[in-house]
Amino acid sequence: MEATDKYLVSEEFLDDYHSQLGCTHCHGGENVADMERAHQGLDPRPSADLEGVCADCHGDITEKYEGALHNTVEGIRRGLEELAYPRNYEENPGLLQAFDEKCSTCHASCGECHVSRPTTVEGGLFAGHIFTSEAPIDETCWGCHGARSAGEYIGNVDGQRTIPDIHYQAGMSCSDCHDVSNFHGSGEFETGMREIDTLPNCQDCHRDIYSENSEIQEHAVHDESMMSCNVCHSIQNNNCYGCHVAEDGSTPVESRFQFKIGLNEHQDEDRPYEYVTLRHVPTTEGMLDVYESDLLENFDNIPTWKMTTSHNIQRATPQTRNCDNCHGNEDIFLTEDDLTEDCPEANRKIMVEEVPGF
């Protein structure tokens, strides 16, 4: 990345209220012509401290953000501990070190969405230090979620061109579906995505879509308890088999575009579907061996295929084209053939034993 892509401040920034605070107000350092002296004591990420400069004016947001998943990455923290059960962070320094070094660095500061790109993609100012209330998907969201949700949404999955989500093609941004609390937090200490009750639902906009009177025959014969919208309206998603843990490359990652339907492991009132689309998560039994061998003791009890609401929705997909493309088609269901020797036994819980016929 060119230095100008990272540090160049545009003249338009001077129209932004934040410029009136002065650079040193947020970043420290000194307003002098000597470069080295000017950068002494400089804080390149002033928003990393939630009680710092942002809180002076946006305290209502920073307060809520303390418990937000974007800040705490609590979902990953709990997920990792669940894989390591009965080990825990308190008694296992290796586990804590793995989380601190490989997982907790994913958390986002205010600036990493509203001013600059996330550090995971080398950082840098995305619009000459202009503050944007709506984070640009391709610059910031993509920086962290580019291999999955954001990548599939805009049709650029980690650099590979894919078909963008129909909502993106229609000009919709993340916040057109997601409530701001999905990014900034609800004010509660959030423990995982599934527990957030303000997540969007297709039927928030597409009301009464499942109806016996629907002109679309498929909508008339399938109901919500049967399957999620994604089952028919999403396409192949990116599946990772491994996690980039070791710096020396000894933990390689393979990723594959696949489309798999499986059973809903967590059926509840919000997600009553029996069949859902799946994604393989980047987890292998030995991925943390570089920290401590056999750390993920509970690996066998947690499925590596998870329900996903892929953000690559299309009106027409292979599934919508013909009944035969789903009914009786073993290729798109997670079956015995998909379970490899190194996958956890728990994958059987979501495997489809008998592919639906007619």
């Binding site: 545009s10 605070l21 040193t24």
Partner: protein, 70 residues
């Protein structure tokens, strides 16, 4: 013109010149300045470099930990 008047005029001009110098020096010490024609507190030196692509290329020597972040 009377000699005394000339002397007062010279002293007046000299005093005004001194005041101008002192005023300018004081202004340099005050927080704030003008950036691209606009008032901007404590920023003119920062901005002069960071708005200049050629200067930015020089800034590339700054350690990574000081790279622009959030």
């Amino acid at each position: 013109m009377a000699r005394r008047t000339k002397r007062y005029m010279f002293l007046g001009v000299f005093a005004a010149f001194l005041l101008l110098i002192v005023g300018f020096l004081l202004y340099q010490q005050l927080p704030g300045g003008v950036v691209a024609g606009r008032e901007s507190p404590d920023s003119e030196n920062c901005y002069n470099c960071h708005s200049n692509p050629e200067m930015i290329e020089e800034l590339a020597v700054i350690p990574e930990e000081a790279a622009a972040g959030g």
